[in-house]
């Protein structure tokens, strides 16, 4: 009775087809937002006005340009050690993108592989994988991720690995389901009858057909992964300082919150929200486009 659909995705699925961010059903604004974030991430070195890791204590806690005390020099203000918020947000986009996409690929890779193997081969391989997935799913992702981070220590690389390890089970479940129904299809049976080995069948016939689902699921998982990464960074077990991760910025920002330095916490959060929301709206569109049968995802 475990719920396997990322609930955000399912929520996105219920929005009306002709909404303001869509153009003929295509989620125009979300895609633009994601492309923008990707662009910013790639060209961060050029776009950011300052070095995100260097600050001057003389310039700490400057508010954004439109408030009293702010200046155009620091468009979105500075943080508690005088680093430019805008630059950190820009470089943070890079971190989020890299961690998010890589983690999703890792989780997707492992999950798809195991899903295919367990679904196609069945028998004890299937049982083992299924029991492991059940156990994995018994722990909430966040708790599990914290546990693993406490063991191996935080670093960007480790985080990607951890997120991949935590989320592969979502993939495995779904892909396995797909494979089970694919197994009944004619072309697979023909391949078996023709004497192809299991390995060839899985690689040539099964894999290309589950790629669609894997891609859709990857897009949908991106949002979840990013929120988890932000939570981990916020707690101090994610991307370690002084690297600018949005979650980390918010943790730092908490220090100034009680005196009203709102920009340090609100702005990174908005960035996270935009990225997550866009990824989910895109994923939902993809799901319908690539295969209407994936509606149950």
């Amino acid at each position: 009775m475990t719920i396997t659909t990322p609930p955000i995705a399912a929520a996105a699925a219920e929005l009306p087809p002709a909404a303001f961010w869509r153009l003929k059903g295509f989620p125009l604004i979300p895609v633009l937002i994601l492309l923008f974030i990707a662009f910013v991430a790639v060209f961060a070195d050029v776009l950011a006005p300052y070095d995100p890791q260097v600050g001057s204590l003389a310039r700490r806690f400057r508010p954004p340009a439109w408030q009293d005390g702010g200046s155009m020099a620091y468009l979105l203000g500075t943080d508690h050690v005088g680093r430019d918020v805008l630059s950190r947000l820009i470089f943070g986009a890079r971190v989020s993108m890299i961690v998010g996409i890589t983690a999703v690929l890792v989780a997707g890779g492992i999950g798809t592989l195991l899903g295919i193997v367990s679904g196609y081969l069945g028998g004890w391989a299937d049982q083992v994988v299924m029991r492991i997935t059940d156990t994995w799913l018994a722990l909430p992702a966040l708790t599990f991720a914290i546990f693993l981070a406490a063991i191996v220590g935080p670093s960007e690389f480790n985080i990607i690995l951890i997120l991949g390890l935590v989320y592969w089970t979502r993939y495995a479940r779904v892909i396995r389901g797909e494979v089970l129904s694919l197994k009944q299809r004619e072309f697979v049976r023909l391949a078996i009858v023709a004497g192809c080995s299991s390995r060839v069948i899985m690689w040539r016939h099964i894999l290309p057909n589950v790629i669609n689902s894997a891609v859709v699921l990857a897009t949908l998982m991106l949002g979840v992964v990013i929120v988890t990464e932000a939570s981990l960074s916020f707690l101090g077990v994610g991307v370690p300082p002084p690297k600018p991760a949005w979650g980390l910025m918010m943790a730092d920002g908490k220090k100034g919150l009680m005196v009203g330095y709102w920009w340090l916490t609100v702005l990174p959060g908005i960035c996270i929200m935009l990225m997550v929301l866009s990824a989910n709206l895109l994923g939902d569109w993809l799901r319908v486009k690539l295969d209407p049968q994936l509606r149950q995802l």
Binding site: P7, A12, L139, T143, G247, L257
Partner: protein, 306 residues
């Protein structure tokens, strides 16, 4: 019915076993377990002693046996920082987390269920669209951001509510709302879809054909059926809430399990981290079992399943 319970219990036992195995393996197999299990700042001799004491020079299966044996008696080690058994620490803090989770769950159901029902009954109406947007926002805004924004408004700008600690109802409001927010959206969505499904069924059609007033059709016939999956999810979510409250409790400095976990990570107090994860996982497995049994009690169809 008894057979059903026995079967489910057996399944839970298996899950618990696998869970402990997974946790054990991760600790022992990745990295150097000694550095985790020994206090930071110990001398090399102490480390060697610890190594022997923890049996880390023994074969893996023997280590596992000791691990399970201590788990069985509730020995999860001792916290470096507090110098008290982790087990004790955990159950000391648990009531706080339970309180927070209970209030948050009530809030999420109070908001989620009625709005879900309204959205289903007036499909595609104003309430439905509003509900969908609320659901999407609720699920994509990180909870700690919501918490921090709330602090900004209600503590910093308005000064109405205290920003951290516990001790009064006022302290409870913001953390409970932040924690419940995500789940309210999830519950609303589930109520809505469950309600829609039930509303399309034949017995609802017949209820209308009987000439029953719409309020009775929805309130009596539809509701009980529609709420089954929602209650199931809520039950499981209660325990999930306790586990994921780590972020909310950190933001509001609420002295519960989540904050304990945060302390464990920050102070490199590994026994706490391990203990929280083990107990947390076990609790989820147990709650799943309880909910399944409750399910059987509500739905007469399952009672007679052989």
């Amino acid at each position: 019915m008894k057979q059903y319970i026995v079967r489910r219990a057996g399944y839970s036992l298996l899950s618990l076993f696998l869970l402990s195995l997974v946790i054990f393996l991760f600790v022992r197999v990745t990295g150097d377990p000694v550095s985790l299990l020994v206090e930071p700042g110990a001398s090399p001799e102490d480390i060697e002693n610890m190594r022997r004491q923890f049996g880390l020079d023994r074969p893996l299966w023997e280590q596992y046996w000791h691990f399970m044996a201590s788990l069985a008696v509730g020995d999860l080690g001792q916290s470096f920082y507090y110098r008290t058994p982790v087990f004790e620490l955990y159950f000391q803090r648990l009531p706080n987390s339970l309180l927070l989770a209970a209030v948050a769950m009530s809030l999420s159901l109070l908001i989620g269920i009625p709005s879900g029902i309204l959205a289903a009954v007036r499909v595609d109406g104003f309430w439905d669209s509003a509900g969908k947007i609320f659901a999407l926002l609720g699920l994509s805004l990180p909870s700690f951001w919501v918490g921090l924004v709330l602090i900004l408004f209600f503590s910093v700008y308005l000064g109405w509510l205290p920003s951290s600690g516990s001790g009064s109802t006022l302290h409870l409001l913001m953390p409970a709302f932040t924690l419940g927010w995500y789940f309210a959206a999830a519950h609303m969505r589930l109520t809505r879809s469950s309600m829609l499904e039930v509303l399309g069924s034949e017995y609802i059609k017949l209820a209308r054909l009987k000439g029953l007033p719409e309020a009775l059709v929805i309130g009596k016939h539809a509701l009980k059926n529609a709420l089954i999956p929602v209650i199931t999810l809520a039950g499981i979510n209660l325990v999930v809430m306790i586990n994921v409250a780590v972020v909310v409790e950190t933001v509001f400095a609420w002295p519960g399990i989540g904050r304990l976990l945060y302390e464990g990570i920050t102070f490199r107090d590994f026994p706490i981290v391990q203990g929280v994860v083990v107990i947390g996982g076990a609790m989820i497995v147990l709650v799943n079992l309880l909910v399944d049994i409750l399910y059987a009690l509500i739905d007469p169809r399952i009672r007679l399943e052989s």
